[in-house]
């Protein structure tokens, strides 16, 4: 069924449905680019362009939210692959080191524990705990098998509990 505000090149996607998940997708985009708001806005805008043009075509096989999260993830991957190869070139020709992305202001113990997780564990924890996806949906967004997703999820929870427990005992 086609919504009244469905996109011309993406009949299963409507503007209002995208607006409803905008906040969560923005949070995901933000964590994709190390909490740099300008880059996150750029990513979101590009994701919307992909949906408008039909380059990213939603076929109703998953939820719209999972699909848009995966679009953002893929855009971020391809963008940072380009950026990192440029950075490698810069490092090769200049002796001074290139500074890392800006560290967010939050520096409490939980945040440090989350940041210490391997990337995939951090991603799945974010998707399940903060973006309200199931482990299956999160695995689909990350492009891994559901079983692999579960393993990352369990290990992440275990690692977080252990770190926070250590911290609680120290204080």
């Amino acid at each position: 069924m086609r919504d009244s505000d469905a996109l011309e090149n993406n009949p299963h996607v409507s503007r209002s449905a995208l607006e409803a998940i905008h906040g969560q997708v923005y949070g995901w985009a933000l964590s994709r680019c190390d909490f740099d708001h300008a880059t996150a806005e750029d990513l979101m805008q590009q994701a919307y362009v992909e949906l408008l043009s039909g380059s990213a075509r939603f076929d109703n096989k998953s939820t719209l939210k999972t699909f848009v999260f995966a679009v953002v993830q893929n855009l971020a991957r391809s963008r940072f692959r380009r950026v990192s190869s440029r950075l490698r070139l810069v490092k090769q020709y200049a002796e001074e080191s290139v500074t890392d992305a800006v560290e967010p202001a939050a520096n409490d113990e939980v945040w440090r524990a989350v940041r210490a997780l391997p990337a995939r564990q951090r991603d799945i924890i974010e998707l399940v705990f903060c973006r309200e996806l199931t482990v299956e949906q999160a695995a689909a967004v990350m492009g891994v098998a559901t079983g692999t997703g579960r393993v990352h999820y369990d290990r992440a929870k275990k690692a977080l509990r252990s770190r926070l427990q250590d911290w609680a005992e120290e204080t």
């Binding site: 979101m44 989350v114 974010e126 903060c130 509990r161």
Partner: protein, 119 residues
């Protein structure tokens, strides 16, 4: 167990919320920008496609075009004027198209026997 899971979830959620800050761009603003970008790229694509199609049409038209007064068959005289074939042995002749048979000896019928045979 569920309590501990919920506590962990809340703590992680708070940590992410703190890291993200409160700044969030409005959907309308980003959507408008995306629409504008999409429109511009579509316009550019149309312009390129139009130009390419026109150029292709011109090239095809020029290649298909033949002069109206041109005959469909070959004029032998024109062909002979425009082509020249020379055999490898021609270079041995003193002049081009030299008639090598111009001084053919005239043979007369013999009526005189010579050594038992007619010449």
């Amino acid at each position: 167990m569920q309590d501990s899971q919920d506590t962990l979830r809340d703590a992680v959620e708070d940590a992410f919320r703190g890291a993200a800050g409160h700044r969030q761009p409005s959907f309308d603003r980003l959507w408008r920008k995306a629409e504008q970008k999409h429109r511009n790229s579509r316009r550019r694509y149309r312009w390129f496609a139009g130009t390419a199609a026109t150029a292709a049409a011109v090239v095809i038209a020029l290649s298909l075009q033949t002069p109206a007064d041109q005959d469909a068959y070959i004029e032998i005289a024109e062909l002979l004027e425009s082509t020249y074939w020379s055999a490898p042995s021609d270079v041995l002749l003193p002049d081009r198209e030299f008639d090598i048979y111009q001084d053919l000896p005239v043979l007369f019928e013999s009526t005189e026997p010579a050594e038992g045979a007619l010449l």
